[in-house]
């Protein structure tokens, strides 16, 4: 094998991108371009990395199909990390098939992991799980095992299966130690934090408690009636009433649940649902209509009874009513609530769902994006917004070292 390429690839594998660059910085042959691209990616210059990998793929002739496919996979990973989710998945699938056909199973698996991470990012959890199940998993180099376990953990977290998530993260930590790449170990560590940081707030009978992800999971299995601020739903047992596109009804449900077993005055309900400063007769009429709608929606779970001064919730078959809220009340909570279904939303769809102007939604999204609470991909009309599926995961660039051995 080529001497300096071997030396540079070994440096990359050991998590030393600068050492790799030292060896191939001035060379412009195809393998050097590819190694430089991967090193730049590891150093965080994704734009430069992308263009280097493109040139490398071009420089590898058609007779070097495997090397070319590896460049495509690396470029796909860069696209994933830069949240360019419109990057052509078909190209990635073709590269994976080439690697599979030529027996480069480790990099073929890596391509599959990128596809699964992309699906997870898009909130398509079932498809991510399916993509992962399709891959040949043994024997994988430790770095690839870390990625695989991180994806499994991500899926488990999304499904609120904290035990599975913890087991996967433990396996990931072991593999990261074997791989000896500090960036990977840090990635696992930060994914672990998700499980040990309060993920939500529980409001019940006027009191608030922080909840870990595992406790949120336990709540799902309890008999309590839960008003879920994350998903804009009201649920109990297996019955889920989605109010994602009915913000007024949801605001009323939340006010009633928070006050339960006490009632809530008409004025307070109108303030919460309509944000009205001066209440007039038309608001009272509207409240009657909306309460009627809420009653119909909640029928399988609870009744809404009129009291002397307002309304109160009368849950069926349970003695517990709680509100599951975000750890910190957000200024743009309603926008976040819609986005937290993990689906990509257009700003016009959000405006529609929130019954507000597109401009208002735009402003909220831009503000949230500045604090990294939401992210977008695509441009112009095709632009879509979403929340990161699990905080901080998967964010890192996990390009493995053994990328360009031959």
């Amino acid at each position: 094998m080529e001497s300096l390429i071997t030396a540079a690839a070994r440096a990359l594998e050991a998590g030393d991108p600068l050492g790799a660059l030292n060896r191939v910085a001035l060379r412009n042959d195809a393998p050097s371009l590819a190694l430089r691209g991967i090193a730049m990616a590891q150093l965080g210059d994704l734009a430069k990395a992308k263009s280097l990998l493109r040139s490398a793929a071009r420089a590898f002739g058609p007779r070097e199909a495997v090397a070319r496919a590896r460049c495509v996979v690396a470029e796909a990973e860069i696209a994933l990390v830069s949240r360019d989710l419109s990057w052509p998945v078909k190209t990635l699938a073709a590269a994976r098939a080439t690697l599979d056909r030529h027996g480069d199973l480790a990099n073929a698996a890596h391509a599959g992991h990128i596809e699964a991470r992309r699906l997870l990012l898009l909130g398509r959890v079932d498809e991510a799980e399916h993509a992962l199940a399709e891959l040949i998993t043994s024997p994988l180099p430790p770095a690839s095992q870390v990625v695989r376990e991180l994806v499994i953990a991500g899926i488990a977290i999304r499904r609120l299966r904290t035990k599975d998530a913890r087991a996967a993260l433990d396996r990931a930590a072991r593999a990261a130690r074997l791989a000896g790449i500090p960036a990977l170990a840090a990635e696992v560590e930060s994914a672990n934090l998700v499980l040990d940081t309060p993920a939500a707030r529980l409001i019940a009978r006027g009191e608030e408690h922080p909840l870990l992800l595992g406790q949120v999971e336990a709540l799902g299995a309890s008999s309590a009636l839960v008003v879920d601020m994350f998903h804009h739903t009201v649920r109990m047992g297996g019955i889920v009433v989605s109010l994602g596109t009915r913000p007024v009804l949801f605001a009323l449900a939340r006010s009633l649940a928070q006050a339960w077993p006490a009632d809530v005055s008409r004025e307070a309900l109108m303030a919460a649902a309509f944000r009205a400063r001066h209440v007039d007769e038309s608001h009272r009429a509207r409240l009657r209509v909306e309460i009627g709608r809420l009653r119909a929606k909640l029928k399988p779970l609870a009744g809404v009874s009129a009291t002397k001064q307002g309304f109160s919730l009368t849950p069926r078959k349970t003695r517990d009513v709680v509100v599951l809220a975000r750890p910190v009340e957000e200024k743009h909570a309603t926008v976040l609530a819609l986005l937290s279904d993990g689906e990509p939303w257009s700003s016009s769809a959000l405006a529609l769902a929130l019954a507000t102007s597109a401009r208002t939604v735009q402003r909220a999204l831009e503000e949230l994006a500045r604090s990294n609470k939401v992210q977008s991909f695509g441009h112009g009309r095709a632009r879509r917004w979403m929340t990161p599926p699990v905080p901080g995961f998967p964010t890192g660039l996990l390009l493995p070292g053994p990328f360009l051995k031959t």
Partner: protein, 212 residues
């Protein structure tokens, strides 16, 4: 040109801790192979690693009867085979794009992988004495009985071929099975070639065709 399928006589390895084989040579008793940060000697009779030298070993390996030569990054190291000490260093002709290495007739022969060239080099000064063009990426070089053989790897295919040292014309070609890589080549002086197996981390013995 005679062309036939390579007859693989025996496989050595994979070996624990060896991710890839980058170069191969033979000292009459042991087969040496380069594995990145080590030179390893295997006994061809039992296939076990008998000895290792900790030294950067990124590409071709050769033996001149007393010394091992090993390409590391962009230079060729001359190593005392008995002690493992580096006795001298010359620049490699391909500036790091080097691949195979062989010793013959007082010269080093260095493959330059992507340039598809084989250089004859003065082992004292590193001066390029002449250059032979090949048609394929060169991965390993060896001389036996006045025949120049080299390994190739291109289009996910490898073969071992004998070329005319004057013209570079291919005289004979042994094709390895698809996906089997030759990453280093050495003759045992008899009817065997030792071929490095690239990132499979193994070494194969391939039969050298008899002259009729």
């Amino acid at each position: 040109m005679k062309r036939s399928a390579a007859e693989i006589v025996r496989e050595y390895g994979p070996f624990a801790g060896v991710e890839a084989v980058h170069g191969v040579t033979y000292d009459g008793k042991h087969v040496w192979f380069a594995s990145g940060d080590k030179l390893n000697a295997i006994d061809p009779a039992d296939g076990k690693i008998a000895r290792s030298i900790d030294i950067a070993a990124h590409a071709g390996t050769a033996f001149d009867g007393r010394h091992l030569f090993q390409i590391a990054e962009d230079r060729i190291q001359k190593i005392d085979a008995a002690t493992g000490k580096v006795l001298g260093t010359i620049p490699s002709p391909g500036g790091g794009g080097d691949s195979g290495l062989a010793w013959a007739e007082g010269s080093l022969w260095v493959g330059q992988y992507r340039e598809r060239k084989i250089h004859q080099v003065d082992p004292e000064t590193g001066k390029v004495l002449r250059t032979i063009e090949s048609k394929r990426f060169v991965t390993g070089v060896t001389w036996v009985d006045g025949e120049l053989w080299h390994g190739t790897w291109e289009n996910e295919e490898s073969d071992v071929r004998r070329i005319d040292p004057e013209t570079g014309k291919v005289l004979e070609q042994l094709d390895l099975p698809a996906g089997t890589m030759v990453s280093g080549l050495e003759s045992d002086g008899g009817d065997r070639f030792f071929c490095g197996g690239g990132d499979r981390g193994n070494v194969r013995a391939v039969r050298r065709p008899r002259r009729s």
